[in-house]
Symmetry: C2
């Protein structure tokens, strides 16, 4: 095996939680000869420079992607098209262009029209994140043992897909290849609808006129606080996810609501056996998630005990 890094230069566009975590990962693992970070916000760029996240940090997207062998777009899904348009004329011949968006069908539709024929466009989605956002929130271990789903378009060069796969595996991820539409449905149930429900119940709680917000906060350890974690996620990113994965989210949401109405009816009519059966069935899924190292078995997620 050669000691040469996998890519000569890597450019990351967007320095939020994901972009800054990749940048930190690239400091820990020698995958890139050079790393350029770009963001349109002066404030974010200044902060990323202060954190010393890369060799070059700039607001100039064109300069960042020039000569880059891999470009990873790490912006909210709704901004992918505009970024693709901005960087397209400056892309190196033969470069791999990828992204990290939580929705794949829309990203493919937005970016493909701008991609020059001489680059390899291979979208991807690392299924990892926290409730924190911005360049300070990232960390190199974010992707460890998490899955990265790669959604190459039909006819993508196998060598480009293989190099992107090696990139994510070197950052600690496990990888899987999937069609964009199937990705969007899988993520609707495993991520998008859970976020929507979490946002919604926190909203419902703060609107209840018979219960004060102070009471909601005080007694949140009964379960509510678990929902507030994901309801603290980045509003721009999540607005875009729902607008851009509309069909799959509406489909899964329809099923969720239907099932919830059935449970509501069980409660109204005192049908305890049906409740008990569901509550028993759901335990098994938790065990599988722990067995596959996608969560911790410690009580309360291992929250520190006083």
């Amino acid at each position: 095996m050669s000691d040469a890094p996998l890519f000569g230069k890597v450019a990351l566009i967007g320095i939020g939680l994901i972009g800054s975590s990749i940048a930190r990962g690239l400091k820990a693992v020698p995958l890139a000869g050079a790393v350029a970070l770009a963001d349109r916000s002066d404030e974010v760029v200044a902060r990323a420079r202060a954190l010393d996240l890369a060799d070059v940090v700039t607001t100039d997207l064109a300069a960042a992607v020039a000569d880059a062998d891999l470009v990873v777009v790490c912006v909210p899904v709704g901004a992918c098209g505009a970024v693709a348009e901005a960087i397209a004329p400056h892309l190196k011949r033969g470069a791999i262009v990828s992204d990290v968006g939580s929705v794949k069908g829309s990203v493919v539709a937005q970016m493909t029209p701008f991609m020059p024929g001489h680059v390899h466009f291979v979208p991807a989605h690392p299924v990892a994140g926290t409730e924190h956002s911005g360049p300070d929130a990232g960390f190199a271990e974010l992707f460890h043992e998490r899955w990265c789903i790669i959604t190459p378009p039909p006819g993508a060069a196998p060598e480009a897909v293989a190099r992107l796969t090696r990139f994510w595996q070197a950052l600690g991820s496990k990888t899987e290849v999937m069609a964009p539409d199937h990705h969007d449905l899988v993520l609707a149930i495993t991520s998008h609808v859970p976020h929507l429900i979490a946002y919604n119940i926190v909203g419902t709680a703060s609107d209840l006129e018979q219960v004060t917000e102070s009471e909601v906060i005080k007694f949140s350890a009964g379960g509510f606080r678990d929902f507030t974690r994901i309801a603290a996620s980045d509003p721009t990113m999540w607005r875009d996810v729902f607008l851009h994965n509309k069909d799959a989210v509406l489909e899964v949401l329809g099923r969720f609501t239907e099932d919830l109405i059935a449970l509501q009816r069980n409660i109204r009519w005192g049908q305890g056996d049906q409740l008990f059966d569901l509550f028993t069935r759901t335990r098994a899924i938790r065990r599988s998630i722990i067995d596959q190292h996608q969560d911790t078995a410690d009580p309360d997620f291992g929250r520190a005990r006083k």
Copy 2:
């Protein structure tokens, strides 16, 4: 201040997560001259003996409560009436009888008819728990910095309420007094409906024919796994909560569904501003919960990073 313990003898009926956590707390803090633990299951009693949780561990509820100055009933809400009936004839004159049920109106209604006039019946609810159950799951620190809500009936002796308050504070809790009906509404939003929603989405996910259970598990780090924690909670306890707090749960659930349908409509019609406004508002509640030490500020609840 006297060095004498607060109570001569404390009896705990039911040795699950809560009963065994109180028992462990009583080993750490000298609140009781003696502790008796009782459970109707031979298996649970054998396990509690092996764990050395108390001076006496028995299946004989009458023997456990005999001479006890404080009796705390720690069984699922649906079993409170039967336990009250079983222990009533054996209660010591002047004893305080309490419970830990997550529903208070129903517990008051079930237990009050059996309580002799010579005892002080003061229901309470420590708002603390984990997804694990049984005598092995308990730990003394479970109640630290958590709230215990005390719901004395009209005319309760202030001295009895004060002693129960000191008991919970010594176990590490903060305490608050509330009317049973208000408690049940507050817990419906902070605990019961969140659990129902979590159980429901885990059920919906496992029923989706287009997405395999293996995919749901693999990609659960996108948000879904947070729901599976509380959907792994004890099925019997939670069945009873929903059957016994029916009115408040149906009221809050109705509002939740109404709000969710409005969000669904926002998504269908591409109303991003409304989504963004809600997603921004919900962040503030998370911050308050952390400020009040009801959760950790660490990303991912402080889940261990690989």
